[in-house]
Symmetry: C2
């Protein structure tokens, strides 16, 4: 009985969360959030959707792609409203990711410092260029995650 009275309308969620309604639809299509419907087919959201959206936005700031965020959200217990502990667990995952991203950028910075000195940017000699650690995002294109449909999440 987690008090489901008084669901939120799309407009309310949009203004409270700062996320456009079109984005809410998009998140729902991709299994990141869910909603109930009124008799007239309009969406109504449980209040905890705000926290989910909070998690989504924060994760995006960390640089996590939506597909991964969806996978992470899918590990939340079904049935009950997530607790603070649940959210803390998910956040800790990103903490690790963040650390990794930071240290990747730091080593890139060190390399760059070396290369500013030599002005090389030469393709074979320079540490900077050789992408042995092709972890660093190569932009958006052509990152095939898993073969098949994106945003996995055992389709609602």
């Amino acid at each position: 009985m987690t008090s489901t009275r008084h669901l939120l309308t799309p407009g309310e969620v949009a203004t409270r969360s700062g996320v456009a309604i079109s984005a809410l639809h998009f998140y729902e299509r991709n299994g990141l959030i869910e909603s109930e419907r009124t008799a007239g087919n309009q969406r109504r959201y449980r209040r905890d959707v705000l926290r989910r959206i909070g998690f989504i936005r924060v994760s995006q700031r960390v640089g996590i792609p939506l597909a991964d965020i969806a996978a992470s959200l899918a590990t939340l217990p079904e049935g009950r409203t997530p607790t603070k502990q649940d959210w803390a667990r998910l956040s800790r995952t990103w903490r690790t990711e963040l650390d990794a991203r930071i240290s990747r950028l730091e080593s890139l910075r060190d390399d760059l410092d070396g290369c500013i000195g030599c002005g090389c940017l030469s393709l074979r000699s320079c540490t900077l260029y050789n992408p042995d650690d092709v972890l660093a995002g190569r932009g958006t294109g052509a990152i095939r995650l898993d073969r098949g449909q994106a945003y996995g999440g055992r389709g609602r």
Copy 2:
């Protein structure tokens, strides 16, 4: 007389640089590199294209969008082959960018640490959520650079 003998074929540039030919075409269309043509309309590249591509890939690793890289490359002196000093100047710009990116991620990490403790992720109270500094990329969509054509560069 910077010795223009012995130009490189597309295939040579591709294997030496590790960049696909389709990407070379793409870079050229967007003014990042240029080429000469044989009588039979095939591309031939001056050797310094390798260094340009090096710069492009390194810049991308730093996280700079191609449009900005193009703008940066456009500041190279026309006519003469760029010197080490030229490349060093460009690299220094990215160094600043890199620092900014790193410190943004670091403060995000600090915020995240605070929030793991409270498990909040609440939309109004949490420092993490409020995007007062909407510097952090919000993904790819809808970043209108300059109104108009992307990849500015006085389009030949």
